[in-house]
Amino acid sequence: MVMTFVFAFIVGGIICAIGQLLMDVGKLTPGHTLSTLVVIGAILDGIGLYEPLIDFAGAGATVPITSFGNSLTHGALAEAERHGVVGVLTGMFEVTSSGISAAIVFGFIGALLFKPKGNVD
């Protein structure tokens, strides 16, 4: 049990460290960096490596943005296996919706509750 937490910390930290290198050394903007990580997540699931990572690291693999790429691809592949090539389009959002829906709903609520703040610390 404790080990799951340790691995979650380590794997999550490593993925974020890679992101930081992309930003500092690669000089990518946050948008470019996150897009790159999402594509990597998609490719890793395509070759069947992301699900084992989730089994190993739990939230360390499901919380970083790479998991978006993974779930979208996972959904697409699962549907394609069942229903043929159309499944590639229809299956994507079956598994991923909670992150995006939550962001939209809480974004809306946040807009109603909060005003932008110009604080520095």
Partner: protein
């Protein structure tokens, strides 16, 4: 070509107001007012920005004991799209309005235009200046204010401040404008909007060098050469350019930057302050007051501006910059 003002228009009064974070500025005791609400009790940042411009102008007019109807021209600008906060302030001030966009160099370009109108006999009293409001500008040029991006050490903090000066016919007891240099749009191939100092330093160098050459002056003729917002790194680069041109670094003592000094040594503000309001706030409060107190007799104020937009950055363009200078003396 340098502009020489034979009639030597004077800076009769000035008003500077700033937002809550600017309490942390080392120049804050020179400002006329510092507000606790960054939106000036208005609903949006842009409306607060407009209110700030009006307040700065009111302070300037009150000090000279004049009213809106006594002012011939109101000129200025800001960094928001189409400069709407200044346009809307002009609506409420009800004075003939010339909107000017020189990015963060607007504080001086507006004074140059006002001085020319005064010299030509077309103006008795003009309001000239610039302003910026942090939230409105960040949203325009970079990211939403609450977005958690990591700013590098080269970044600068846009101040929330407005500074407007009243320019009128020459009077002995006020600082007077001797000469001015209008800058070109200078592009040295810098392309990082989080490192404006590097983009603007060459423009400041060209304008200062041109002014000194045309006026047959050297740096030591001035008590102070103050650039607007190069920041700590931009100032280093500017000094580096002077050293490379043959000037010894000891001779560069009069060369200072308002943005680099604005927040003191506070690291939360990275390389320093920037924004059209930065130069305006420091030039029209601290510098004018020091001149009237006799500390500075001859000053060169050089406002620097980066002439980019978020679109040009996304389209992969570099950042052209400009710098405008006025030479002010006090007997």
């Amino acid at each position: 070509m340098v502009i020489i003002f034979q009639s030597r228009p004077s800076l009769i009064a000035a008003g500077v107001v700033a937002g809550p974070l600017e309490k942390r500025s080392i120049f804050s005791q020179h400002f006329d007012a510092i507000y606790d609400d960054e939106r000036w009790q208005m609903k949006t940042n842009e409306q607060g920005h407009r209110k700030m411009v009006e307040e700065a102008c009111q302070f300037a007019m009150k000090k000279a004991d004049v009213k809106n109807k006594d002012i011939d021209y109101f000129m200025g600008g800001d960094l928001v799209n189409q400069m709407t906060p200044t346009n809307f302030a002009a609506r409420d001030l009800d004075i003939p309005f010339i909107g000017l966009f020189s990015a963060c160099a607007t504080s001086i370009s507006s004074v140059i235009v006002a001085s020319l109108l005064t010299e030509a006999g077309a103006s008795n009293l003009s309001l000239a200046g610039a302003s910026s409001q942090h939230n409105a500008v960040e949203r325009q040029f970079r990211y939403p204010v609450d977005y958690g991006s990591q700013k590098p050490q080269t970044a600068q903090w846009t101040v929330t401040a407005a500074g407007y000066a009243l320019i009128g016919k020459h009077q002995e007891e006020y600082p007077s404008i001797e000469a001015a240099t209008v800058g070109k749009s200078v592009d040295y191939g810098m392309d990082d909007p989080f490192h404006m100092g590097a983009a603007m330093a060459p423009a400041a160098f060209q304008t200062i060098q041109s002014h000194l050459e045309q006026r047959n002056q050297k740096i030591y003729h001035y008590d102070l050469i103050l650039t607007g917002d190069l920041g700590q790194l931009g100032l280093k680069l500017l000094k580096g350019m002077f050293v490379e041109s043959g000037i010894k670094s000891e001779e560069l003592k009069p060369l200072r930057d308002a943005g680099a000094e604005f927040y003191g040594q506070d690291e939360a503000f990275q390389s320093g302050a920037s924004g059209a309001g930065c130069s305006a706030a420091v030039f029209f409060s601290y510098v004018i007051q020091q001149m009237r107190a006799g500390t500075y007799k001859r000053v060169l104020l050089v406002a620097t501006g980066a002439l980019l937009s978020p679109l040009t950055f996304q389209q992969g363009e570099t950042i052209p910059c400009t710098a405008h200078a006025i030479e002010i003396t006090m007997k």
